[in-house]
Amino acid sequence: MKSKQAMDTFVQETGGWVAAQLEACTRCGLCAEACHFYEATGNPDYAPVWKMELLRRAYEQRFTFSGKWKQALGIEKGVTEEDLTEWSRLVYEACTVCNKCAMVCPMGIQIGPLIHEVRSAMAAAGVVPDDLMKATQNQLQVGSPLGVSDDMFEERLEWITDEWEVDIPIDKKGADTLVVFTSIELMKFPTNFAAIATIMNKAGENWTISSKGREVVNFGFFEGSHEHTVLFLKRVFDAAKELEVKRIVISECGHAYDAFRWTAANLMDVPVDIEITHILAVIAGFIRQGKIKLRNEAHKNGTISFHDACKIQRRGGLINEPREILKILAGDSFKELTPNREQAMCCGGGGGVISIKEADPLRFAAFGLKVEQMKKAGTQSVCMTCSNCRLQFSEGVAHYQLDVKVRGLSEMVADALV
């Protein structure tokens, strides 16, 4: 009864907000040109409007006369299990929910969030790619999609504090700020831990991390499952409440910022007196307030470009901050990619795509567009504020054998501290 479960979810998720936008679509097809998956492959199935086709069909067949007639007359089929299987691949492997399509749509339809609704239906029907579900299961059972257990976390943290000789307060009750990291940073980019800790300490911030709320990545969010999303959010919120902090800082992660800052309050009861922000905003704030000082032109590795992460820049609004920082760090060596800022092109690895092995060819194909961008700008180094992007870039640059350095912005700031 998978299709029934999917249809039920579609029905449940469809209120005025969804319906009005579905009614507004004119089938103009312009969204395709904004999608990096379509651009990289030319496959019309990857057109954003096609990815949300099941949602449209469900809406029309359940809520409108014309949809009901079309189904009754056999002009349109209902949503079958085959459809679910096919679309599962489309919405999980060929979409990063970057929402660039929404920028291009003449009607302004928020296609990204609508595709997220399709994921919800898939999750309810249990038609989710195995790799992604495995990561979700890991996070459910062990607390991290990469399978990092409590013990592993403790071990790793010890190693980091030793290796970089940096002070990282854990479970400090009464701290002002709780910083939550990703297990990607823990395992793949441990310098981030060191960098951010250094910055926080230099700025004199009363901060801590939590051993219980230690994972900011939310695979429930990628899966589209309301239940799992809330569960993972709750772990961090509970930790924050327990430690009586005033704000939660998301480290270099994109979708977590979207989930915590821009979505959580509509999914569950969030603590009202706890501010939610991103490390990028915090660092920029420190610089503006003079709490930390950076060496001018600290970056010496050639032309540097900034990759706007979809969930932090386009969907998060922190667009000027990285440029302010890079102005200090790189001055004239900074070269914008084209397009950039809120129009920027997705790295191709977000939305959980990077966790699905089957999607590798696709995400590398999409990354080809970033390669073109960097070549055109003459980029020698590229930096970003999202670890998922950083992982995609690292793997992508290796795949294309590019001579480009991939850096995290927090790292660069920490390196340039005066």
């Binding site: 469809t14 209120g15 005025g16 907000w17 319906a19 009005a20 936008q21 009614e23 507004a24 679509c25 004119t26 089938r27 103009c28 097809g29 312009l30 395709a32 040109e33 904004a34 379509y38 651009e39 030319g42 019309p44 199935d45 057109a47 409007v49 096609w50 086709e53 809520f63 409108t64 014309s66 002009i75 349109e76 929404a102 920028m103 291009v104 749509c105 003449p106 009607m107 302004g108 339809i109 928020q110 800052r261 821009w262 979505t263 959580a264 309050a265 509509n266 386009r314 969907r315 998060g316 609004g317 667009i319 084209t338 397009p339 809120e342 129009q343």
Partner: protein, 225 residues
């Protein structure tokens, strides 16, 4: 039955019925959406959602139609942008700034307004018709369009095209007598009026919803697309 009688019918009772169905249908579509349930947004915004929506409207009406190339996807899909734009421009010009249609509005609303000279309207109408052909062909050969187009989309094209071309023929007295062309124009207009609330052509009403939502989403995050 002669064409003078057909003309009287299509301008009179048939038009009335079509207008009723149009009004009732559009209200139906509107209320169906409005009462479907709108959940309150409990996320605190960084910027103003209201200003975001206003900005989105202004940009959509004042800027994007005239300099569509500000969208960086323009170069990848110039036909849809240009033909779509020219079609809409011609449509609005003819319907609101063309003298014959202004007189229709005047009889319905009670007041009229100045209109553009006939040769200009004529040119825009012809351009819009050419644009329609371009859009039809594009819909047939572009891979994405082929994927997402259904029968209803072709029907939409046809029912919008017929009033345009019959109106143009009428103005230029092409091929048939005037009352024949006028009748055909009125019949096609009436059919279109009836079809609008049953189809995607009603997007002009939902435009306001989607654009407001778009603006609010970005305004909330203090992003100015």
């Amino acid at each position: 039955m002669n064409w003078t009688e057909i003309l009287e019918f299509s301008r009179g009772p048939f038009f009335n019925v079509a207008l009723f169905i149009f009004v009732a249908g559009m209200m139906y579509r509107l209320v169906r959406i409005l009462l479907l349930g709108w959940s309150r947004d409990r996320v605190p915004g960084k910027g103003s959602k209201l200003w975001g929506s206003i900005r989105s409207f202004l940009k959509g009406i004042l800027i994007l139609p005239f300099i569509p190339w500000v969208k960086n996807t323009f170069t990848k899909n110039p036909i849809t942008y240009l033909a779509g734009g020219i079609f809409h421009l011609g449509l609005f010009a003819v319907i609101f700034l063309g003298t014959p249609h202004m007189l229709v509005w005047k009889s319905l609303l009670g007041f009229g307004w100045p209109t553009l000279p006939v040769p200009i309207i004529d040119f825009l109408a012809a351009a819009a018709i050419v644009a329609m052909f371009a859009l039809l062909i594009n819909r047939h050969i572009h891979p994405v369009m082929k994927r997402i187009t259904a029968l209803g989309d072709y029907l939409n094209w046809l029912l919008v095209f017929l009033p345009m071309v019959s109106g143009y023929m009428m103005t230029h007295h092409l091929f048939f007598r005037y009352e024949v062309l006028y009748s055909l124009h009125m019949i096609s207009v009436n059919i279109l009026l009836i079809w609008i609330p049953l189809s995607r052509i009603s997007h002009f009403m939902f435009y306001f919803f989607s654009r407001a939502i778009h603006g609010a989403q970005f305004g909330k995050r203090a992003v100015t697309p």
